[in-house]
């Protein structure tokens, strides 16, 4: 039974890892606390629901449109809210992002109502000896790892990817490399949102969406990002698996509430002992 929990925990962690990468990128590069990240995920799910159930658009096309929409929403927020406030006091940034979060949630409440909306895609559960693996989670895991791999290659092998790393490490000097900071911000915001949209696509067979769907995912993404070391991508990756497995193990042994309690308790313990996170370095300027 423990083995089952660990395996499912790894699957869960892998899915969270992709979300964490999106948040980490935006945090490291643009240096904003993206309070409505979970809401982007929620919007992605709602758009897919609307297109597939409401307009009978084929699933894959709906996913593509959803990713594009989520990217558009984030870029719009970037241009109208985030960018103008980059030099403002941090508290202004926090509150503005929180305001966008409330607006997005309530918009969805108005448009879609409070009931859970799901797309009836039921996938089988794989049974190997005593291990149960939902195919939906397996696909989500494989897909997340695939996109994580793509992001890795992008960051390491392309000039823009290298520029993104440079800006997140030393913004001022990056401009001495002829890097256009504004452009890198926009690309990073688009990338972060795209990862939320892609995760939404993988979430379709697993979750039903409702206007409060985003909040817990924002929190858990932040926890993973901070646990791994803010802006530290390998750290976030590792932290995602730790959080995923701990959650699953205690969910299985006790209950899903204890799954959450254990994960967050572990986070608190680690962060108190090591404030910079697992792989984080001391505070950067």
């Amino acid at each position: 039974m423990i083995l089952n929990a660990i395996l499912n925990g790894i699957l869960y962690g892998g899915i969270l890892a992709l979300l964490a990468i999106g948040l980490n990128l935006m945090f490291g590069v643009v240096q904003i606390v993206h309070f409505f990240y979970g809401q982007l995920l929620m919007i992605g799910l709602y758009i897919i629901y609307l297109l597939v159930v409401g307009m009978h658009i084929p699933f894959f096309l709906a996913c593509l449109i959803a990713v594009a929409t989520v990217v558009a929403v984030n870029l719009l927020s970037h241009l109208m809210v985030v960018n103008p406030l980059l030099k403002a006091p941090l508290i202004n940034q926090f509150l503005a992002m929180a305001a966008v979060m409330v607006i997005l949630e309530n918009l969805c409440l108005v448009i879609f109502g409070a009931t859970y909306k799901g797309i009836p895609i039921i996938l089988p559960i794989l049974k190997i000896a005593t291990i149960y693996i939902p195919i939906s989670r397996l696909i989500a895991f494989v897909g997340s790892m695939f996109f994580a791999g793509l992001i890795y290659l992008f960051l390491k092998k392309t000039y823009i990817g290298l520029a993104i790393q440079a800006v997140s490490q030393d913004r001022e000097i990056a401009s001495f490399m002829a890097i256009n900071q504004r452009l890198i911000y926009i690309i990073t915001m688009a990338l972060g949102a795209a990862l939320a949209g892609i995760t939404a696509a993988f979430f379709v067979p697993i979750y039903s969406v409702h206007p409060d769907f985003g909040g817990p995912f924002t929190v858990i993404s932040f926890v993973i990002v901070v646990l791994g070391g803010m802006g530290n991508l390998p750290g976030g990756f590792l932290a995602a698996f730790i959080i995923g497995t701990v959650t699953m193990i205690f969910s299985t042994l006790l209950s899903s509430e204890f799954g959450a309690i254990s994960a967050y308790l572990l986070f608190l313990l680690i962060i108190i002992v090591r404030p910079q996170g697992l792989l984080g370095i001391r505070a950067r300027t």
Binding site: Y159, L162, A163, Q165, A166, Q169, D170, E172, I173, S175, F176, M177, A178, I179, N180
Partner: protein, 234 residues
């Protein structure tokens, strides 16, 4: 090559540079010396576009540079080795060099440029995969200079390259700068270590309180400087 005419510049309304005029002829090494706070770094930053020019003109090969954005200025052919090197600490030596060739003018030639850099500084080749933050002080300056070379500049600005280096390393550092000089680059160097810098210079400017107090060719500079110092108490 570079002409600075009657420039007033600073970071906000407070103007640090007062009526600065100087030039860097092609292939020459020009140094700026002077006490702390004289505005030497500010002049470099103004040329690079990170400090605001409020009055005056800066020309590069006849092109007016006034308040152009920094990436544009780099594409035109001016690059800077910033104070302290300012490497990307978490990237490898190789990646630091590669990001140096980010400007469009440098991208196609990055392999060629990297070979040149490795010929100049073989240690960097052997340490390619190492994280920049783990290099020694002298190696870091080597990498900082090389990263700037990767952008294929015509004019290289150096902001206090000797800062923070042990005396033994200083000798090697100025050896690197001499090497760059013989490769034909035009250099504009800000230095506290006047004596060492003057060995490399073709021409020198003395700055103080945002003004150019004195300038002359290298050979005459030291002599005249000591005299001025005695009489004017600079």
């Amino acid at each position: 090559m570079l002409k600075v005419e009657n420039v007033y510049a600073g970071y906000s309304e407070y103007k640090i540079l007062q009526d600065i005029s100087m030039e860097v002829p092609i292939g020459k090494t020009i140094i700026l010396v002077g006490p702390n706070g004289a505005g030497k770094s500010t002049l470099l930053k103004t040329i690079m576009g990170t400090a605001k020019l409020t009055s005056g003109r800066i020309y590069f090969n006849g092109k007016l540079l006034n308040n152009k954005k920094t990436p544009e200025i780099i594409e035109i052919g001016i690059s800077i080795v910033p104070e302290g090197g300012r490497l990307f600490q978490e990237l490898t030596v190789f990646d630091n060099l590669r990001i140096g060739s980010y400007p469009k003018r440098a991208r196609k030639h990055y392999r060629e440029q990297m070979d040149k850099v490795f010929q100049l500084f073989p240690i960097l080749q052997s340490r390619q995969k190492q994280i920049a933050g783990s290099l020694s002080g002298g190696e870091r300056q080597m990498l900082a200079i090389s990263r700037t070379l990767m952008s294929r500049p015509e004019l290289i600005l150096l902001d206090e390259p000797s800062q923070g280096l042990a005396p033994k390393v200083l000798v090697t550092l100025f050896g690197f700068v001499k090497e760059i000089k013989t490769q034909g680059y035009s250099l504009l160097m800000v230095e506290q270590n006047m004596r060492k810098a003057l060995e490399l210079a073709d021409y020198a400017y003395l700055m103080e309180s945002g003004c150019i107090k004195f300038h002359d060719e290298k050979t005459d500079f030291l002599n005249s400087y000591s005299i001025k110092k005695a009489y004017l108490g600079i």
